[in-house]
């Protein structure tokens, strides 16, 4: 749908939510829990390179998911908690580019930077 005038966007387009809106329900959950819908979040994180493997993801908040969430939080400058806090979920549901952030465990976003670099920047900041 192309719009040269923003006021011409029909209201029904507002009413159609993103596939990712359901991730709102995962807010507040953390490692060790079993929650309906976590398998879809794992698929999302797999799609963008944060979880290895193929399919048959479970609804368990396991080590793999915790690690993926931590990496995601580093890449998007969020507090690294490993849990699905509200800020992380809000970021996850934002519209985005379909190109993966990580492939084969390699990233040049924040999570791929060495601790030495982080320490250096921290010292400079102080």
């Amino acid at each position: 749908h192309f719009f040269t005038n923003v006021s011409s966007i029909p209201p029904w387009l507002n009413a159609t939510g993103s596939n990712w809106e359901s991730f709102h329900n995962l807010s507040g959950h953390h490692f060790g829990q079993r929650v309906d819908g976590l398998n879809r979040l794992k698929s999302y994180l797999h799609y963008f390179g944060y979880i290895n493997g193929t399919s048959n993801f479970t609804d368990d908040f396991d080590d793999a998911l915790k690690s993926a969430v931590e990496t995601y939080q580093k890449n998007f400058n969020l507090n690294v908690t490993g849990s699905l806090d509200n800020h992380t979920v809000q970021q996850i549901i934002k519209p985005r580019c379909g190109v993966a952030d990580i492939v084969n465990g390699t990233s040049a976003m924040n999570s791929g930077k060495s601790n030495a670099t982080s320490s250096f920047l921290s010292i400079v900041a102080r």
Binding site: F2, G17, S18, N75, P95, V103, A108
Partner: protein, 198 residues
């Protein structure tokens, strides 16, 4: 800034690139203008040039709007979610989700629609991928992976410019007042980086 594995780029001697829309139908002059402006932003800071072609079969870059599965194994997901994707050089494939509410030629910030996406903002980002840039954690940069609705973000930032000038060098006619590029990569992973969706 980051690159695709192996730092692929358009070869030296092939910096004058052509682009075409595929399919052509429904592509208005206003839409063509959006993409021309988006390409021009990258051209101003590099030796690269971009010229519209009417022949998708021979163009270096092909741009298409598609719904759902469209042949590359990366189906689009309807309104919002994934907005677009593009492939690393020298693929030249640039795909956008036809289901989005693309704002072509108006101030997207004025929109009351929760689904309005600024076309030029997404085009500038995806062209970065077509030229060899991966995603950046710098939130202000064009190559940051996410964009909110009703937001216009089209100006290249120093992070973007340093990345693209590492690959291609600066525009010999000047870099349009951009910040000075660094002599090397700032990232410390020592390798190449991020990856495309295929």
């Amino acid at each position: 800034y980051a690159f695709f594995p192996g730092e692929p780029r358009w070869p030296e001697g092939h910096y004058d690139l052509t682009y075409a829309f595929n399919p052509e139908e429904n592509i208005t002059d206003e839409i063509r203008g959006v993409f021309a402006r988006a390409f021009d932003r990258w051209s101003k800071v590099t030796p690269l040039t971009f010229e519209l072609s009417t022949s998708p079969n021979s163009a270096d870059i092909t741009i298409g709007f598609f719904n759902g599965e469209h042949g590359d194994g990366e189906p689009f997901d309807g309104i919002l979610g994934t907005l677009a994707h593009a492939f690393s050089p020298p693929s030249g494939r640039f795909h956008l989700d036809a289901a989005e509410s693309w704002v072509v030629d108006d101030d997207v910030n004025k929109s009351t629609s929760l689904a309005a996406i600024d076309l030029e903002s997404v085009a500038v980002h995806e062209i970065g991928h077509l030229l060899g840039l991966g995603h950046s954690s710098v939130e202000e940069s064009i190559m940051y992976p996410a964009i909110t609705t009703r937001t216009r973000k089209v100006e290249l930032q120093s992070d973007d410019i340093m990345g693209i000038q590492y690959l291609y060098g600066a525009n010999p006619a000047g870099n349009n007042g951009s910040s000075t590029p660094s002599s090397g990569r700032e990232t410390s992973d020592g390798g190449g980086a991020l990856i495309s969706s295929s």
